[in-house]
Symmetry: C2
Subunit: 199 residues, 2 copies
């Protein structure tokens, strides 16, 4: 297909986005041409601003356009409970569920010797400081159930051994709505291990 140069370029940018293939990128690019000039100008500025003006919260590492993020500044939240997550995208998932009223700590990665990522490469030093500053800290580790997630969970457990922190991890098990017939073996095994007494 011979697209005009700028349309082709626009298609290529959309194609870099996750889940956007050739056909969708074309549709999005062509639809973008229907925006009016003001909208385009603003869309274009927003891209640059979103990249340049968003930084990391000095306390928890979540993305924010201020020094400290909304969540860390919110006095109504329980500062003693810290949910430890791999990246800031998970903050949005937790916040959307609306069921967590504590704070977060974004590691910005997981320990992975294969990829040469050690404990010093992720945001752990400040986690220890936060834990030490609290009277009765409770940590909830919400890391994915992979080798890297498990390694990081174990490491955090170990370095906090002598601090008086309560540490838990999210339960593994059957996702709500799933058909048990179609579950993979590992999930089923974990669901058995983590089974919950009901009477």
């Amino acid at each position: 297909m011979n697209y005009p140069v700028y349309l082709e370029k626009l298609i290529n940018y959309y194609k870099k986005l996750p889940g956007i293939g050739e056909k969708s990128a074309e549709r999005l690019a062509i639809a973008t041409l229907d925006f009016n000039s003001d909208e385009i100008e603003e869309f274009s500025d927003t891209l640059v601003n979103a990249k340049n003006k968003l930084g990391r919260c000095a306390i928890c590492g979540h993305i924010t356009d201020e020094e400290i993020c909304d969540i860390c500044r919110d006095e109504t939240r329980n500062k003693s409970v810290i949910c430890v997550i791999e990246d800031y995208k998970s903050v949005f998932s937790f916040e959307k569920s609306g069921k967590f009223n504590g704070n977060y700590h974004v590691l910005n990665g997981l320990i992975s010797p294969m990829d040469d990522i050690g404990p010093e490469d992720i945001n752990l030093a400040s986690l220890i400081m936060r834990v030490e500053s609290l009277d009765e800290p409770e940590l909830i580790l919400a890391l994915k159930p992979t080798i890297e997630g498990e390694a990081t969970t174990l490491y955090i457990k170990k370095i906090l051994e002598n601090k008086k922190a309560t540490i838990s991890r999210l339960s593994y098990g059957i996702p709500i709505g799933a058909e048990i017939d179609y579950l993979d073996n590992v999930t089923l095994e974990k669901a058995l291990e983590d089974r919950k007494k009901i009477s």
Copy 2:
């Protein structure tokens, strides 16, 4: 959800695109933050350029970044055959099929008395001029099978009555891969009407 301002704005722009809902827009916006600064800068410039530097071909009305589009400038194409379409997006569809070697004429609309769009509001005057300039013009009307498409087809047929142009329209019928059981009545009726002798 309390997103940082610029992330929220970016999500809102993605949401304006067709087929992008709340969840996809969030995913796209967050993925965009992972672009490096150069990519963001270029993406942003491309948006503005795509809007400002793309215009309409002076001959056929297709979008182009030059005075005359690639297709009209292509000397290997058959200039006597003109495929008449509603908007430039269809040019891309035909070009992708790779089966058409003529030229196009983009009407940029269809006659629609309901919406107060008359023959003078669409790109018809230049179509007549093109037809008159050719020795043996052949027109293929590729307009959608709606009231507006039919009205425009009939109007073009009428105004070219005294010119020596061959005029055809695309066939209506069963789309390839469709289950006949699930076809709507009108398509089935058209497929019967347009049936093709095979022996």
